[in-house]
């Protein structure tokens, strides 16, 4: 079972509460067994799709088949530690604007599970502690 979570805030949606990313145990197991393609495979797909969204043609968008197939055919990158897998997951599943731009405060933190509150009474007011 994963030991970590990623807490982040999206600068494009400042009114939303802090998000908590929870890795899938199956995905983490695959990552630690060396079954992932290079992260660039996913970035290429994300770039193409974002361009379609920006140009208002997302409803009819289809991935280029040769790029899409790389998810399954690209050479695998080898075994990752759990920490490396979490860093890979940040770059794959969290919007790039959150982790690739420098802000005047941290927009995301990789934390241990026990650092995430389990009391959800005020869940929609959560923020990242500075």
């Amino acid at each position: 079972m994963a030991s970590y979570r990623v807490v982040y805030e999206d600068p494009d949606y400042p009114e939303e509460p802090a998000m908590v990313l929870i890795p899938s145990d199956r995905w983490l197991s695959a990552a630690m067994s060396g079954k992932l393609p290079p992260i660039s495979v996913y970035w290429e797909l994300q770039d193409d799709e974002q361009k379609a969204i920006d140009e208002g043609r997302h409803d009819s968008f289809k991935h280029d088949l040769s790029k899409w197939e790389k998810q399954f055919t690209a050479p695998r990158i080898g075994e990752l530690t759990e920490e490396e897998a979490m860093e890979y997951l940040v770059m794959k599943d969290i919007p790039r604007r959150v982790w690739s731009v420098e802000y005047n405060r941290p927009m995301f933190k990789i934390v241990k599970i026990e650092q995430v509150p389990s009391n959800r009474q005020f869940r929609n007011a959560w923020e990242i502690a500075q």
Partner: protein, 117 residues
């Protein structure tokens, strides 16, 4: 273990068989947790009743079908249902599930989804 690779499946009468491309069940109460999943790399707890699901591998396009389910929590007074959020841009890898109470308030529950494309 062996892997069977095939482009399409049919019954002996020629009817197509369509398998889920991804699925997950998520318990949102307390610390959100994936109960089980396939082709899901992560979920994101996005607030009370909200879960963003990210697939390990992208679908060919974003016009896939999302079939959702909700388990009733705590007996007859807590009827919930789950829907896919329209104020969230569903992409080829990510969609948002919203668990709603019978008064249409986003609320935590046990939710799940399957993807067909």
């Amino acid at each position: 273990m062996s892997t069977i690779k095939v482009d399409n499946l049919q019954t002996t009468t020629g009817t197509g068989l369509y398998l889920a491309k991804s699925w997950c069940t998520v318990y949102q109460v307390g610390t959100q947790v994936i109960r089980d999943s396939e082709n899901v790399s992560s979920i994101t707890d996005a607030g009370s009743g909200y879960t963003d699901v990210t697939m390990s591998n992208a679908q060919p396009n974003a016009n896939y079908c999302i079939s959702t389910y909700t388990a009733v929590l705590g007996g007859g007074g807590n009827q919930h249902h789950t829907c896919v959020s329209r104020n969230f841009t569903t992409t080829t890898t990510k969609y948002r599930l919203t668990c709603m109470s019978n008064t249409l308030q986003a609320t935590d529950g046990l939710v799940g989804a399957s993807i067909f494309s």
